[in-house]
């Protein structure tokens, strides 16, 4: 079998719409990219070094490509990929704001990037300073007393928070079994509840899109460990009854967990701690603009009120008494009743450093502006689009608005998916579709604060044009039309699973 040409570029949309061969198809026996340092270490054969019982018979087949073809392949793949840097990305609930490049530069500093996580505190004071100062900033922002930076993403933060909840109740000699979540909650919430060893009790949303207080009261009892909320909620609405909710939950001895995915809307306006939350996770890869990397890495620090601090994961970076020179000193400390480690080391350190840089550039004033502009943008879109789309709950929203194609669907047979795909042809990444689940044909739009009025106008025009097409019966199921691949067959992918190149060849 001959290999595919590594220098042909018909797979980049600039030149054509071919598929890009895989790394494996580009491979040819004997090609090599690697170059390793000359060490002068004495040669020894594999046989001398690896006992026969363990030795592998053949090399692990990877691929054999020249550096030139390696570069061609992955550069071409990048041209087949949309990203924030290319344009607006109004993906609801994901807060796809511009990621400042300065954070990349900070994360690339050798003094940070080349630091070994197992080095003693005396040799890593700079990193400890970053972690401690970030923890302090996050506590100030969320209105909490202490935090752990270990969780690697939001969901990890959720599970960590639920284990804190569990430890808290256990310490009180209680064994509660249920955690309440609203029906509008993100999927990670119920999934985390299960992994936390709790049962999910779902409360419905009321006509205003908020937690139905009556329904909540009905399910509250001494078996309730706590409730998980995001506020603003996934409908982009602020839970106005949050004080009552907090009161009611606390009354039965439950704790309030805050899913910080939507914190962007309220930075500097209101703090989860002041709303009565006991445990808060923050998505640094959303609110604090750390790049999402096509699916990760993220960071989901968890901040708690004073009474829960002693349960936090450890070891924790802490300030020590100033050194001889009076300068700050930092070290590690494990809380008295710590639930233990939740990460192999100290958390996603470079993501944490990026977030601190973002926070330091914005400061108290800048973060407030972020929230104001985010909410302004979302409301402007809501108002503009309320005439052409159903708005799930048409009242002032926070950082995002949930539209619905329900009417378009009924009247014109056009789905939220059709609208989303058609928007691609208009030059925009689609919004989040079919979430939250309680909204029929949901189109969840989060413009974020870094998009300009002109971009919002163009986005609104695109949305309206698509709606108009639908009404005129001109909107088909063919879009997107320009992308290197058209609509993909998801059913087939699941039916005939091909999850590796080798599985394909076996076909």
């Amino acid at each position: 079998m001959t290999s595919a040409p590594g220098g042909r570029a018909r797979s980049i949309p600039l030149l054509g719409h071919d598929t890009e061969p895989t790394l494996f198809e580009l491979s040819a026996p004997g090609r090599q990219s690697w170059q390793l340092r000359t060490t002068g270490v004495p040669d020894r054969t594999v046989d001398e070094l690896v006992p026969a019982a363990h030795r592998r018979r053949e090399l692990v087949p990877i691929a054999e490509v020249s550096e030139r073809d390696l570069v061609g392949h992955f550069t071409r793949l990048s041209h087949r990929q949309f990203s924030i840097d290319l344009g607006a990305y109004p993906l609801g609930s994901c807060t796809m704001k511009y990621n400042p490049k300065v954070a990349d530069a900070v994360a690339a500093l050798p003094g940070l990037a080349a630091a070994h996580p197992g080095a003693p505190a005396s040799l890593t004071q700079g990193w400890l300073a970053v972690l401690v100062e970030l923890e302090e900033a996050l506590c100030a922002i969320s209105g909490m007393a202490a935090a752990t930076l270990q969780p690697a993403a939001g969901a990890a933060g959720e599970l960590t928070g639920l284990l804190l909840m569990r430890a808290w109740h256990a310490a009180a000699g209680e064994d509660r079994r249920r955690v309440i979540i609203p029906d509008s909650a993100h999927g990670t919430n119920p999934a985390s509840v299960t992994l936390g060893g709790y049962q999910v009790t779902t409360v419905p949303s009321d006509a205003r899109g908020c937690v139905d207080m009556a329904a909540l009261r009905a399910v509250l009892d001494a078996d309730v460990a706590g409730i998980m909320l995001t506020n603003p909620n996934t409908l982009g609405l602020f839970e106005e009854d949050i004080a009552e909710i907090a009161g009611a939950v606390h009354e039965v001895g439950g704790l309030l967990y805050y899913d910080g995915a939507n914190l962007n809307a309220i930075l500097g306006v209101v703090r989860p701690g002041d709303m009565g939350f006991d445990i808060v996770h923050l998505n640094l890869h959303k609110t604090f603009a750390t790049p999402h990397g096509g699916g990760g890495p993220g960071a989901g620090p968890v901040a708690v009120s004073a009474r829960l601090a002693e349960f936090l994961p450890g070891p924790r970076p802490v300030r020590l008494a100033p050194g001889a020179d009076g300068g700050p000193r930092f070290g590690w400390e494990t809380p008295a009743r710590s639930i233990g480690r939740v990460h192999g080391w100290h958390g996603n350190a470079l993501v944490l450093a990026r977030a601190l840089a973002y926070i330091e550039v914005h400061g108290r004033d800048g973060l407030l502006r972020v929230a104001e502009r985010a909410v302004l943008n979302a409301n402007w879109l809501r108002r503009r689009l309320s005439s052409s789309y159903d708005v799930a709950f048409d009242r002032p929203c926070m950082h995002e608005v949930v539209l619905s194609a329900a009417t378009l669907r009924k009247a014109h047979g056009v789905s939220a998916l059709d609208v989303a795909k058609r928007l691609i042809d208009e030059g925009f990444h689609p919004p989040t579709v079919y979430f939250p689940l309680i909204v029929d044909e949901a189109l969840m739009v989060e413009p974020t604060e870094t998009e300009s009025k002109e971009t919002l106008m163009a986005l609104a025009d695109a949305f309206e044009a698509v709606a108009a097409e639908a009404v005129a019966g001109l909107l088909d199921h063919e879009s997107p039309r320009h992308t290197p691949v058209r609509r993909v067959d998801e059913a087939r992918a699941a039916r005939r699973l091909v999850a590796t190149y080798d599985a394909r060849r076996e076909e």
Binding site: R37, L77, L195, H292, G294, P297, W345, L350, L497
Partner: protein, 458 residues
């Protein structure tokens, strides 16, 4: 007032007018006044980028460790990462995109992850690999969850040779599902499975480190046989670089491989973001945690990639999902695919071989220093090994830092008070774990040895 906001005063006026509002503050009318933050956040005012960069440069300088010749490992290794890998993985299309929900505009990330899955599966010697998990520790937790679900038995036997931090994370997360984790002790670097039985209850899962945290290659055949006898799922926590020379978990008969992918192009970065590797046999595919990319075709019949078997995932299955993971470590998975592409078939083996050569040369020389003893027995080592020093290891590390070396990781710092069943506090305090990668030159190794010789004598 530094920020990245496009709004001019006029923009704001116009937009507020359009909304019939007279101030930005009114946007937050639905937030109860009583809860509103007065006086703003307790943070400094914003500072322009160059000021912030200067601060970080100062913090970076305060990490003396970054300038040292690195012999530390313990799960985080100083391997070569060439400029070409950094520049490709740094392409902003990979860096600033979200999870590939819209396949038509995400073929770049989807195909790169498909290639990553293929490479992990080949390294694991198993047919299925996912699109990554947070890190090795979280991969272990997911592996154990899968094993318990598959076997239907919550008892988990974990070799104390598994990385101490990973075991700690497993303990933390075992609480929720209520797994009963039994730690099986080491002796001279080898797991003593015999005793475990007493712990009561037949295990549903066995976990073995390969190599273990002390760098020793234990015999997976023994664990496999035991697992067969007990009808348990065998999870191997394997190192992808070692696999360049040794048999894959699949060849040893493991049902699941979990691993840390940091060695595949990811910087030390003070411990994160790293890359959780996860692979398993075909029968467990529907229990696979996290995202999976599959190949399919588009409406024109063109080959295309898309996330698949979504029904396992939290956003669809919610409380019955196989895992709660959503955001994973995609960018690092893409980085690993590029790094592996750069290493290629010969390079992965070459790196493993060079590590083993360097480690052997270094270990022999260090054992030549009187008072320095091996901490493990005859079990073979590759890239990393444990020694017992005549002096407390933390003192030695401190002294060698002054000489320009990060001598390794002190065992007591690593294992804390959990130990591994064989280390007494005294041994832990004098225990040093030394790693030698392909980047270490003979001159650097000789320098380390000379400095350590001096350090243990003074």
């Amino acid at each position: 007032m530094p920020d990245y906001l496009p709004h001019t005063e006029d923009d704001i006026k116009e937009m507020l007018a359009f909304l019939g509002l007279s101030s930005l503050d009114e946007l937050f009318a639905t937030v109860p006044a009583a809860l509103r933050l007065s006086g703003g956040l307790a943070l400094e005012e914003g500072r322009p980028e160059p000021d912030v960069v200067a601060r970080f440069e100062e913090r970076a300088r305060a990490n003396a460790t970054a300038g040292l010749v690195c012999f530390a490992g313990a799960g985080a290794y100083d391997h070569e990462v060439p400029a070409v890998v950094r520049s490709l993985a740094g392409r902003s299309e990979f860096v600033t995109s979200y999870t590939p929900y819209q396949a038509e505009v995400a073929q770049g990330v989807l195909q790169a992850v498909f290639e990553f899955q293929t490479l992990v599966a080949r390294i694991a010697g198993l047919p299925i690999a996912n699109a990554s998990l947070y890190d090795g520790a979280s991969a272990l937790v997911e592996g154990v969850n899968l094993g318990v679900a598959a076997s239907g038995r919550p008892v988990v036997w974990v070799s104390a040779g598994v990385h101490p931090h990973w075991r700690a994370v497993l303990d933390t997360f075992a609480v929720g599902p209520g797994h009963r984790v039994v730690e099986v002790p080491l002796d001279l670097g080898r797991t003593v499975w015999e005793g475990a039985a007493e712990a009561g209850g037949a295990p549903g899962v066995l976990v073995l480190g390969y190599p273990n945290y002390l760098g020793c290659l234990e015999d997976p055949a023994e664990a496999r046989a035991l697992a067969d006898r007990l009808g348990a799922v065998l999870v191997m926590a394997a190192d992808p670089v070692a696999v360049g020379l040794v048999k894959s978990p699949g060849e040893w008969g493991a049902d699941v491989m979990v691993g840390e992918g940091q060695a595949l192009g990811v910087p030390l970065a003070f411990g994160g973001p790293y890359l959780g590797l996860f692979a398993c046999s075909q029968e467990h595919v529907r229990r696979l945690p996290g995202r999976l990319v599959g190949e399919t075709v588009d409406r024109d019949g063109r080959r295309a990639y898309v996330t698949t078997l979504r029904a396992r995932e939290q956003d669809i299955r919610r409380e019955r999902a196989t895992s709660n993971v959503c955001t994973n470590e995609t960018l690092l998975a893409v980085t690993a695919a590029i790094q592996l592409g750069w290493l290629g078939t010969s390079g992965l083996a070459e790196v493993a071989l060079r590590c083993a050569r360097g480690a052997r040369y270094c270990r022999d020389a260090l054992l030549g220093i009187d008072g320095v003893e091996p901490l493990t027995g005859e079990t073979p080592v590759l890239r990393e090994f444990a020694l017992r020093l005549p002096v407390r290891a933390d003192l030695v590390i401190g002294r060698l830092a002054a000489e320009g070396y990060l001598a390794g990781v002190a065992l007591d710092q690593l294992v804390g008070d959990r130990g591994d069943g064989s280390l007494d506090a005294e041994a832990a305090a004098h225990g040093l774990l030394v790693a030698v990668t392909e980047r270490r030159t003979r001159a650097e190794i000789d320098g380390l040895v000379a400095a350590l010789d001096k350090a243990v004598r003074s």
